[in-house]
């Protein structure tokens, strides 16, 4: 009971703690975007002064910066991110709503794949520490980390799509076939990283006293691993997964470009390059909230996995 209410309090406190962070994020991004040289309507072509005035008036860019800031804060208070400068037919809310499911699906599946595969391989390597299996698995994992996915992706496309014709070379239609390549490509480096993390911490755990005790009690090795070693060994993976998941599900610019996915990631780049103020603000806030929430979630999972962490004691 006390632990439950402590947990609840902790949760609420952390959620409230979100607000100043977010406010800071929004403010800094807002003014940084405005300070960047060039504006949303600059282009190679000449914009007659009258037209520029009309555009500025339409998007309230003719107002003093502070008033624009407060106008914007007023808008996001009601979760309205405003119209996009670049994609004129759409509001930023619509852009995010349309592209986010794609990023979430690809990133979520990739994370799932990476987690399952990575921990399995990591544990396998740890159990056969310093054998040929271990070395080759870790060698490959090192490669997976160091070969960037903009190298892996085109190779997979060439082999499986262009030459073999088994999978589409890109595009997105919510079919499984169109998901395979992006998910696999996105998952590979993370898988490798997770495998290394798991192996490291597993080896450490396997050498610790409580495992020795468990073994001394005569428990079968499989029970020792599953019941006693797994939980603590996976802790570092969990803390890695918080930000990593946020990164994956907020869309990867590289993967989106190579596979022509309509995800969220490209908006960071095109938004910033085009000085699409509202779009950049929208995705930054969205991403910010996502990261904060996921880190928060990781903390909760931590508490569940590790009895040493007691929130009611800490606060």
């Amino acid at each position: 009971m006390t632990q439950d209410s402590g947990m609840l309090k902790h949760t609420l406190r952390r959620l409230l703690g979100l607000l100043p962070t977010l406010l800071m994020l929004i403010t800094v991004t807002f003014f940084m975007m405005r300070m960047a040289p060039g504006g949303p309507f600059d282009s190679e072509k000449l914009l007659p002064a009258e037209i520029e005035a009309n555009l500025n008036a339409k998007y309230h860019l003719d107002e003093p910066l502070l008033r624009q800031y407060f106008r914007y804060m007023g808008q996001i208070a009601v979760l309205d991110f405003g119209p996009s400068f670049q994609y004129k037919d759409w509001s930023v809310n619509e852009l995010i709503a349309q592209s986010y499911p794609v990023s979430l699906t690809v990133g979520g599946l990739a994370m799932l794949l990476a987690f399952v595969l990575g921990t399995t391989l990591g544990i396998a390597a740890a159990l056969r520490q310093n054998t040929r299996v271990d070395y080759s698995l870790m060698g490959i994992a090192m490669l997976g980390i160091s070969v960037p996915n903009f190298v892996i992706a085109p190779i997979l496309i060439l082999l499986l799509a262009v030459y073999a014709g088994w999978l589409p070379a890109g595009g997105w239609d919510w079919g499984i076939a169109s998901m395979v390549l992006p998910v696999v490509t996105l998952a590979l480096p993370v898988t490798a990283y997770i495998a290394r993390l798991t192996r490291g911490s597993m080896i450490e755990v396997l050498h610790s006293n409580f495992i020795r005790t468990a073994r001394a009690k005569g428990l079968p090795e499989s029970v020792v691993i599953r019941r006693h070693a797994l939980k603590p060994a996976i802790l570092p993976v969990i803390s890695f997964m918080g930000p990593a998941t946020a990164g994956l599900i907020s869309g990867s610019v590289v993967i989106e470009r190579i596979f022509s996915l309509p995800g969220l990631g490209s908006y960071f780049v095109t938004g910033a390059l085009n000085r699409d103020y509202t779009l950049v603000m929208g995705v930054v806030i969205f991403y910010g909230v996502l990261i904060i929430l996921l880190n928060f979630l990781v903390d909760l999972i931590y508490a569940w996995l590790n009895p040493k962490i007691r929130y009611d004691e800490k606060y």
């Binding site: 190679e44 009258e50 592209s99 014709g165 070379a169 022509s260 095109t270 390059l273």
Partner: protein, 699 residues
């Protein structure tokens, strides 16, 4: 770990595989190609491809470069929007596959003697996609909306030649003061500020498209969404999945629907050209927006029939800031640098796609205009280098005291960086110049270039808004918003004024020639090359022609069952013959009756006192007197007529019309016919290397 290992092993095989993968290009959806019997291509009497050569599935997959910013024709900017809008809407004028202006929603028009009053006669059979008739009122409404300050159109400058447009845009007068009047349901009159010889070409720019008033009233700014959009072109917007695809289907209410063969068009936004070319190779696309910059040799070897390269109305050059040291008042030094650039080397090694070395400002193939060439254009590079060294030494520079300056450029999916690097090393090699490269993010670059405080030598270029040399020449006018060279020459400016008010084409061309000659003497820029468009196109896709503005209407295209070179291009040729011919006929038929009608109509409203009696009389003349007709006639061939000088461009279409139906042309014919000049304002910088902002940066 297995996938990783697999990847590594396979990676080794890639070069081997790619060598044998060249036959993949023909695998396209809906085709029977590999196993199809040879199909004899026969063309029916009307010049249409006969049904049995056509693929069963007429579904076109086009790579459209980027996501269109909007499908609201009056807010549109950028080539991606423009391509789609050309399929969805139809302006008063349209273009033939070769880019010649042909009747669009207007079946014919008259131009008054002073070149300031245009009277358009709309097709009576034209319908909106919901069945409503397309009326002059729709155009009036569209043009007013486009010019209205509350629309905040980015591209309303296209309308500036129209009387009062600037005032309307500035909000000084209400939109109904715009010089556009519906005389009756099918006659539209447009008053211009001054004679604007390229005005007809502006009329197929999306800023001038009509919009369907009832749906705008009903849906407001959401009128351009699928399901809401009512359009008057050959296609209807069926679906728009953001950054994934845009689906158009044939508009059965289009006046020429029976001649529209492609039933469904998919436009895909590919931010990455190599992704697009992979999809093309996997058979998922018929048409790409471009090709990856560095793959020319490979593509040429493996996809010779698919790779299509043709001239495009744009120039790439380096600009000098002539208001800053070391280039102020230092014409000889500017010339020295211009001489020392080996353009053949640059186009061969850097741009690689057959870009043409350039020694002037205006790209070739724009109407009949031929640019003056500096005398050194004919020299060998060795001679140029000698002269460059002499001028360089004369300007007081030497090995011990080298010239130093910065070359500023922006990066994206283009060759700007390589180009700057190559130029710097050539200058160093030939003259010993110490040039520093400064790479800037797109918008920062644009800003710096405009402010002219930091720049010395910078990446520059221009693509035509409308294929008229004036659009290029204007850039160097004193105080022009894009004159980031700081060039100012009173004589040049006064020539520009003369050009603006001159309406006799030959005289106007002479003036433009003279102006460009002056400019090349002053040399505030270093010409480097003129652009090309480069793309992969399925050999089964026909009915289109390369043209200098790179405008391609899906309604003209069709997919063949299978590819057999000769037959295929014959079909294409036939189709080109058919297009321009048909409207001309109908024009002649209607001339007399409508001319009378217009005379009466003009009298009635009496709004434009000046435009009443006189033009009516003159119109009568115009249609009878072909001599006077050069500019003021109904047959919109006017400007881009043949002229021996611009030979390859002009020769083809004329011959094409004379060809008997069965003649089989070599495939080159179609690709070498940039033809007349299909001139519509090309909205942005996006398409080519010039682009600057908004692309790239990502990997």
């Amino acid at each position: 770990m297995k996938p990783t290992r697999q990847f590594f092993v396979l990676a080794v095989c890639v070069p081997l595989l790619s060598a044998c993968g060249s036959d993949d290009g023909e695998r396209l959806p809906g085709s029977l190609d590999r196993h199809a019997r040879a199909v004899e291509l026969v063309v029916a009497e009307d010049g249409r491809p006969v049904p049995w050569v056509l693929a069963v599935e007429q579904v076109l997959h086009r790579d459209n470069g980027e996501e269109p910013v909007t499908l609201d024709p009056h807010l549109a900017e950028g080539t991606p929007s423009a391509h789609i809008l050309r399929d969805l809407f139809e302006g008063l004028t349209s273009e033939s596959p070769t880019g010649r202006v042909i009747p669009g929603a207007a079946i014919r028009w008259n131009i008054s003697r002073d070149g300031k009053t245009y009277t358009f006669y709309l097709r009576r059979e034209a319908r909106w996609s919901n069945g409503d008739p397309v009326t002059a009122e729709d155009f009036v409404y569209g043009l007013r909306r486009s010019a209205s300050p509350s629309t905040a159109s980015n591209f309303a400058q296209v309308l500036l030649p129209i009387a009062n447009a600037a005032e309307v845009l500035a909000g000084k007068v209400p939109t109904d003061q715009l010089g556009v009047t519906a005389i009756n349901d099918h006659i539209l009159q447009i008053q211009l500020k001054g004679p604007t010889p390229y005005f007809l070409r502006l009329l197929n720019h999306s800023s001038t498209y009509p919009v369907h008033r009832p749906s705008l009233v009903k849906y407001g700014s959401a009128f351009s969404r699928p399901g809401n959009l009512v359009s008057n072109g050959a296609y209807i917007l069926k679906d728009w999945v953001l950054r994934s695809r845009i689906e158009l289907v044939k508009n059965e209410n289009y006046w020429d629907a029976e001649n529209v063969i492609i039933k469904q068009v998919f436009y895909y936004p590919f931010e990455d050209q190599s992704a697009a070319s992979k999809q093309f190779r996997a058979g998922e696309l018929h048409w790409t927006y471009g090709v990856p910059n560095n793959q020319f040799k490979w593509l040429q070897r493996h996809y010779p029939d698919e790779l299509v390269i043709s001239p495009w109305a744009g120039s790439y050059f380096f600009g000098y800031n002539v208001t800053r040291e070391p280039f102020i008042e230092n014409q000889d030094l500017r010339l020295a640098l211009a001489l020392a650039l080996d353009r053949d080397l640059l186009t061969e090694k850097v741009t690689q796609f057959g870009e043409q070395p350039s020694y002037a400002l205006v790209p070739p193939g724009i109407g009949e205009f031929v640019s003056p060439q500096p005398e050194w254009a004919d020299w060998t590079q060795a001679e140029r280098n000698d002269e460059a060294r002499r001028l360089y030494a004369e300007a007081g520079y030497s090995e011990d005291k080298p010239l130093r300056f910065e070359i500023r450029y922006d990066t994206g999916q283009n060759n700007n960086k390589k180009m700057a690097l190559a130029a710097a090393s050539l200058w160093k090699q030939v003259l010993g110049v110490q040039a520093t490269l400064v790479n800037e993010e797109g918008k920062v670059f644009l800003r710096n270039r405009e402010q002219m405080v930091l720049t010395q030598v910078f990446r520059s270029g221009w693509t035509s808004d409308y294929a008229d040399p004036f659009g290029f020449l204007e850039l160097f006018r004193t105080g022009h918003g894009r004159n980031y060279y700081g060039y100012s020459n009173a004589l040049y400016d006064s020539l520009l004024d003369e050009i603006a008010s001159e309406r006799i084409p030959a005289r106007r061309r002479r003036l433009m020639f003279e102006a460009e000659r002056i400019l090349l003497g002053g040399l505030p820029f270093i010409p480097v090359y003129t652009y090309v468009t480069k793309r992969l196109v399925s050999p089964r896709l026909k009915g289109w022609e390369s043209n200098i503005m790179d405008h391609h209407y899906s309604k003209n295209m069709f997919l063949l069952k299978s590819v057999h070179e000769g037959e295929a291009s014959a079909a294409a040729v036939e189709r080109d013959e058919e297009r321009p011919a048909e409207p001309e006929e109908s024009v002649t038929e209607e001339v007399l009756p409508t001319a009378t009608e217009e005379g009466q109509a003009n009298e009635a409203p009496g709004e434009h006192a000046a435009a009443t009696a006189a033009p009516a009389a003159e119109d009568g003349q115009a249609s009878e007197d072909p001599g006077e007709a050069a500019n003021s006639e109904e047959v919109p061939k006017s400007e881009p007529e043949d002229d021996g000088a611009t030979a390859p461009a002009e020769a083809v279409p004329a011959e094409v019309e004379a060809l008997p139906a069965e003649i089989v042309e070599s495939p080159q014919v179609q690709s070498e016919a940039p033809g007349e000049t299909g001139e519509v304002p090309e909205e942005n910088d996006a398409a080519g290397g010039d682009s600057g902002s908004g692309e790239g940066f990502r990997e």
